[in-house]
Subunit: 438 residues, 2 copies
């Protein structure tokens, strides 16, 4: 007998059951959705590049348009955003993007800039936190100090998908700045975990009238560090053996399959210790080095970057278009939210400029680092989501108005980064040219 | 504001909400599932090739094992088979496989063998139908003649995924036999539509005591033919212009994206007229020819086959492993079903050998054609599913016992094809060598 699903009786209409019954292939709807998303992504990317912007900005903006067609009576996006498969493909797209970007560097490249990444990450967490806390204390006098602290915390986490993609669009993924930013984003993810664990522990303790449990905080941090150590150090030891072993298997596509399995498992393990799956995917990309799979490429296989790229071509635009589709323009029409949102956005952007301090005096471009750290993306939303669910003495820490402001801050930080980063790189090229002339 | 989903409050556990909250990334589960499926597929493929079988047989069998781990207390497959995303990825895999195979031929190649494909398709529909009808009349004396006719009809449809994949494993996708079989499978799909519409109309008419509506039958046929004509003729005219136009866009991955959008739209349109999406995907592959996108390949892009292959490497094994997982070995333990199933399987296999008649006297291998047409796959199950839902004077046309027998027939036809086809090709090489010597 086949699946439960196989036994399900299809609905049979009396006179002409055929079309409705055979149309029942559930992939048909997904296919047309993907066709629309991919087509729109390429049109948006083309328009963005024509006005000198990275393609990803165009993908985000066509997403915003597709997602808000409901305002003109075409609620196409509602079904698409409710489809768990589209969501899963978008998330797979993010995993593959970070894997691709990771493949362009090695663990050694990242360790070289590790200390600097750490400084960037810490500055990029502390400054926006303090600024956000200040904005809360100034504007939200009716809220508790806990709410102000929590609001500041939503500004701390860097979401690196946008920056990674802009770097790729501009062919800058291999620069030291890119590595510093991506390394800092990984460290940020660990710091974010600890901050979130800390805040929720403090609030829980205040609720219950008990003491703060430092043991739990240490455990959260330890798990994340063990994962990163294991992935980067053990992973690098295992990788050449893994390819040596799979080379002995018979079949097609073994190099790509081995790499994908490695990436998917590390991304999964990252999520097990509480980190974002894309952190694991980036680590997997760093670990897999060309010399590890020379046995395949010497036999005529193309390098992994080339093999992974077509999968990214299918899935990565789904991630950015869907991200754009999730922007509900109605949130921008509430004046009482907009003021708070504007100040939060300023705090978020200025706060991350502290990261630039770590870029001075090493031949690096501080501005690129400061701007590259701006995007908040999903991590800020996870924070805000958690805040919606946290209560202190029966009152919510984050209310709907605060939540909407955080969402707008995330959207603005995402949309502002591609043109700003493009400008920062162009400016540097200009400086370089002048230097070359003088 | 972001999506409805974005606003959903994540569950917050009192003391340590972190790991459970951030693990909430729903892609994590999918990633580990894909890693298991891909890893198992490659191991199974390796073992199959070591004993001289096509890799796909190994993928199917590891699927059967994974799917029946529940018998030894590991019900891993239950969650996987219930996950709509895994199902969607498997179906996407089938679409990409047929697209890949279509890319290896042109519309002209298929039209050259069109008449022969038509004869193969008709023989391959009529003979199994008559045989299956006979088996029903002989064994199922308690059932109505309608049930016997319906049972025969479940044996008619060819499911071409397995054959396409075996041809690919053996590097025989470009042979005339492969084109005849794939062409016949497309025609089969059209004939299947008409048969199904016919039977259900007859039964509906018998139920209501009214006359059979021939108009509906003609409509079903007309829609399918209009689609195929439109896809192959208009599609071929549009394709070069499409690539000419997208070449002017700016951005990365435009060749692959254009091809994927074209494939997804044709697969969707096929499902709209009641055909299987894979028929549309195969048609799309046929239509897109190298000369249409020379503007891209001259600019250094790799040909489409190479760009599509990595996506297939990710998704196609998901299709075959999941297909194997759907085989419930418990169905094989019911003796009262097994006798009927065995005879049905024999009728299914022998019936399609009539197709071999169309292969004589043209330098073709009749045996390869006869065996290549054996697999029934999902189409037979859709038939049986419909039968479960059809009633005549309040009684089901197909009961659970009959359904299980059809399922076993489908499974056996699927598992028997890879080794049989491999044998048929090897035998021919043997014959060729003898001829070469004499």
């Amino acid at each position: 007998m086949l699946t439960q699903a196989g036994i399900t009786v299809l609905p049979v209409v009396a006179i002409l059951p055929l079309p409705s019954a055979l149309q029942a292939d559930p992939v048909a709807q997904l296919l047309v959705t993907l066709a629309v998303i991919l087509g729109a992504a390429k049109l948006g990317g083309d328009l963005a590049e024509r006005i000198g912007q990275p393609a990803v900005l165009g993908e985000l903006l066509v997403g915003v348009i597709l997602g808000n067609l409901g305002l003109v009576g075409v609620p196409w996006a509602r079904g698409v955003l409710a489809d768990p498969t589209v969501d899963a493909l978008a998330r797979l797209g993010a995993v593959l993007l970070l894997f691709e970007v990771g493949l362009e560097s090695t663990v050694g490249d990242v360790l070289k800039v590790g200390a600097r990444s750490f400084v960037v990450a810490v500055l990029g967490v502390v400054t926006p936190w303090v600024l956000g806390w200040g904005v809360g204390a100034w504007l939200l006098t009716a809220h508790t100090t806990y709410a102000h602290i929590f609001l500041g915390a939503t500004l701390t986490a860097t979401s690196v998908g946008i920056t990674a993609r802009v770097m790729q669009d501009l062919e800058r993924s291999h620069t030291p700045e890119a590595r510093i930013i991506l390394g800092a984003a990984v460290i940020d993810d660990v710091l974010g975990l600890v901050i979130l664990a800390g805040i929720t522990s403090v609030i829980s303790a205040a609720n219950l009238g008990t003491d703060l449990s430092y043991g739990q905080l240490v455990l959260v941090l330890a798990k994340a560090l063990v994962f990163l150590f294991g992935a980067l150090v053990l992973g690098r030891m295992i990788s050449p053996r893994l390819f040596g072993w799979t080379k002995r298997l018979r079949g097609r596509g073994l190099l790509l399959t081995t790499a994908l399995v490695f990436c998917f498992l590390l991304a999964y393990l990252a999520s097990v210790v509480g980190l974002a799956p894309i952190v694991g995917a980036y680590a997997a990309g760093l670990v897999l080095e060309k010399v590890h799979y020379e046995n395949f490429t010497n036999g005529g296989e193309r390098p992994l970057e080339e093999l992974v790229r077509p999968i990214g071509t299918l899935l990565v635009p789904v991630f950015f278009v869907v991200m754009g589709m999730r922007v509900d323009l109605e949130a921008f029409t509430h004046p009482e939210v907009l003021g708070l949102a504007a100040l939060l956005t300023v705090a978020a952007i200025l706060g991350k400029q502290a990261c630039a301090l770590a870029g001075f005096g090493a031949g690096l471009d501080p501005l690129v680092i400061g701007i590259g750290m701006i995007p908040r993306g999903e991590v800020g939303l996870i924070f805000a989501n958690l805040g919606l669910g946290l209560t202190l003495h029966g009152e919510r820490i984050v209310d709907q108005r605060l939540y909407s402001a955080v969402v707008i801050m995330v959207v603005m930080s995402t949309l502002v980064t591609p043109p700003a980063l493009k400008w920062a790189f162009a400016r540097r090229r200009g400086v370089g040219r002048l230097r070359g002339v003088s």
